[in-house]
């Protein structure tokens, strides 16, 4: 992206130039996520594929870690993109920010190479520090944990200091508070204990309070800014909505943490607390849909940037269905007893991460590229518009195919392995070998191919969109 189509006529601020670097790495890692996901999917159908060379555990680890990191890079890039614009002053500490980008990227490359080439180590502390921590989603070794904290602190300094020097908009205020929580929570995952109950208790602080609380608020901020930029929605409206979302999101999400505390050794009162509050978690997502769709309708879908608006609307619905509906379906303990740790969870995970987060980062990529290409027209009749339209279609068609296929496998698994067979190893394999399960895995792979094709088209579109466009962007009148 960085090398192509930049029009020097448009001056981008320091934060925005830096954002383009983050976005470039994000898209590369998105590609890696697709690749390793496909390899892991193939191993369900052909278990000997790459056996002993690149085992399922490694592909799966790279698949989910690439996702976490590309979304983080996407978020950081998005925040740098809006920072000077929101604060009204040049970014504070830009040289540090640039340095941190390279440090962060280098660290990611080293971690990925170690995951690929070293893979595992002996059962010693040195493995935890240098190779892998072996804990789902936060497998990065401890040295990298410390590096991540340093990078996030530097990022926080840039953001907080810039808003402090300029003006604290409501979006800025929420963003800064959210980043404090986001950075602080990560620390909860940085220790070793032989006690697996204690381990998972704190591990969920990182995983849940990131993806079901602080990340949601972060995308709420990005959504607010995105609506102002693409359609000129009145700031007061989006900011009031943002606070409503924060209240609902944290009001349900913080104690919703309890839905991960049903089966890990934690006390029984979490049944009630976790069940109740996690059942409320879809409510803020409904609010976001209403908000985004109402604003889009109010502005008669007239936007300065159609691809970005399309992805924002996709985010509203994807978040609601993926995180909200799919999460709610198996969040109560009475059903979760049978679905916990089955393909049901995988189905939810795929739709939620894509619907809530990938979509928002992609929307920001389009907002950024519009300016990068010279503040060009991205409304109707955009030159080469078929690419972004087909990309969004293929990515959604592929994702929905995968999600439905895994859900069917998950239904089968929860019935046969869990309810009937009682989760013994025999029960597990009876379910895994069932025709319905295998059909699900087969269709999931087809969905994976469609999704990957969508990714390739998306990448191609990002490299080219607006390059042949000579009209300048539609000016959306603010209200």
């Amino acid at each position: 992206m960085a090398a192509s189509g930049h029009s020097p006529a448009i001056t981008m601020n320091g934060g925005q130039k830096l954002a383009m670097k983050y976005f470039t790495v994000a898209i590369a890692l998105f590609g890696a996520q697709c690749l390793f996901g496909m390899l892991a999917g193939i191993q369900y159908l052909h278990p000997d594929f790459l056996f002993g060379i690149l085992d399922f555990s490694i592909n799966r680890m790279l698949h989910i870690n690439a996702m976490i990191v590309w979304l983080l890079f996407g978020f950081i890039g998005s925040v740098y993109w809006l920072l000077e614009d929101e604060a009204g002053v040049p970014i504070v500490g830009l040289p540090l920010a640039k340095l941190i980008f390279w440090v962060f990227t280098l660290a990611v490359v080293v971690v990925v190479l170690v995951f690929l080439l070293v893979q595992i180590g002996p059962g010693k502390q040195s493995t935890i520090w240098l190779i892998t921590e072996g804990r789902e989603y936060i497998e990065a070794p401890r040295w990298a944990d410390i590096g991540i904290v340093v990078c996030v602190l530097a990022f926080f300094y840039n953001v907080a200091a810039t808003f402090a020097r300029g003006r604290f908009t409501h979006i800025g205020g929420v963003l800064v508070m959210d980043l404090v929580a986001l950075a602080g929570i990560y620390l909860a995952g940085m220790f070793y204990t032989p006690n697996i109950s204690m381990d998972q208790h704190w591990w969920w602080w990182v995983i849940h309070l990131w993806v079901e609380a602080t990340w949601e608020v972060l995308v709420g901020c990005l959504m607010a800014y995105g609506l102002i930029k693409t359609m000129g929605v009145r700031r007061q409206i989006v900011e009031t909505w943002l606070y409503i979302e924060v209240a609902l999101m944290f009001g349900s999400g913080i104690l919703g943490l309890g839905h991960h505390y049903f089966w890990i050794g934690t006390p029984e009162y979490w049944f009630t607390i976790g069940g109740f509050f996690s059942a409320l978690e879809p409510i803020p997502l409904v609010a976001m849909v209403v908000h985004a769709v109402f604003d889009a309708g109010h502005h008669k879908l007239k936007s300065a940037n159609n691809p970005a608006l399309a992805w924002i609307i996709a985010q509203a619905f994807g978040n609601f269905f993926g995180a909200g509906v799919w999460g709610f379906m198996h969040t109560l303990p009475q059903i979760n007893l049978y679905t916990h740790g089955t393909q049901w969870t995988a189905s939810h995970g795929h739709l939620a991460f894509f619907g809530a987060y990938a979509t928002m980062v992609i929307a920001f990529l389009y907002i950024a590229l519009q300016k990068w290409r010279g503040n060009v027209w991205m409304g109707g009749n955009l030159v080469g518009a078929w690419k972004w339209k087909w990309a969004i279609f293929l990515l959604h068609a592929g994702m929905i195919t995968m999600v439905m296929a895994m859900l069917i496998s998950g239904y089968e698994q929860s019935q046969i392995e869990r309810a009937i067979e009682g989760s013994t190893w025999m029960g597990y394999f009876a379910a895994q070998g069932h025709r319905w399960f295998l059909q699900g895995m087969y269709w999931r792979q087809i969905g994976g191919w469609v999704f990957s094709a969508g990714f390739v088209l998306l990448a191609w579109d990002l490299l080219t969109i607006g390059k042949r466009e000579t009209r300048s962007a539609l000016q959306v009148p603010g209200e």
Partner: protein
Amino acid sequence: MSETQALWWASTSFWRKTAIWVTAGSFVVLIFLTFDTVKQITAGGKRVPAYSVINQRIDYKFDEKRNFQVPVIGPEEPLFGKKVTEAEAEALVSHGKLTTQAKNCMDCHTLLGNGAYFAPDLTKAWLDPSWGAKETREQTMVEFLVHPELAAHNPLGRRMPNLKITEEEARATVAFLKWMSSIDTNGFPANFKPIDQSNAPTPAAAQP
């Protein structure tokens, strides 16, 4: 839109205050509950037994009052026939836990139901009937962990790769799995049929 501004419940400041109070309130409740939970899941308590529980038989039986299966700590049955002290048990279980992390078990298996879904859940692996007789279980588990690629696992052809687990690491992993099976997981997994651990010489002979 001017009439909206007059409505207190639609104002930015009202929702700002609400957001702050709701967030702070939820967080305070969470902290309060966390203190209690951490106390209850510290090893040595009722829900999460001390590591030396590996010296005893562990079973998983239906509890009428709680209406689900719960771990039952039985008579003395030391792992590998050797009774260990609390400190030795902790060191052994810790080595096992470290091994499960170093070998990335969680990216194929689930532990307490969390992880990946490519291989069976390990929560009650110690009690799984697939290990055959309880007398030979420990040794079978160690041999499997050291050379998993040689064993026929299932008709699907899915195998566990050789993860260069040493015999010492394998024994520690078995200790970790035995200890993990003693955790009170509120009835997860449900309807589980544990290995026969009655004192009869073989499982077959135990049933008339």
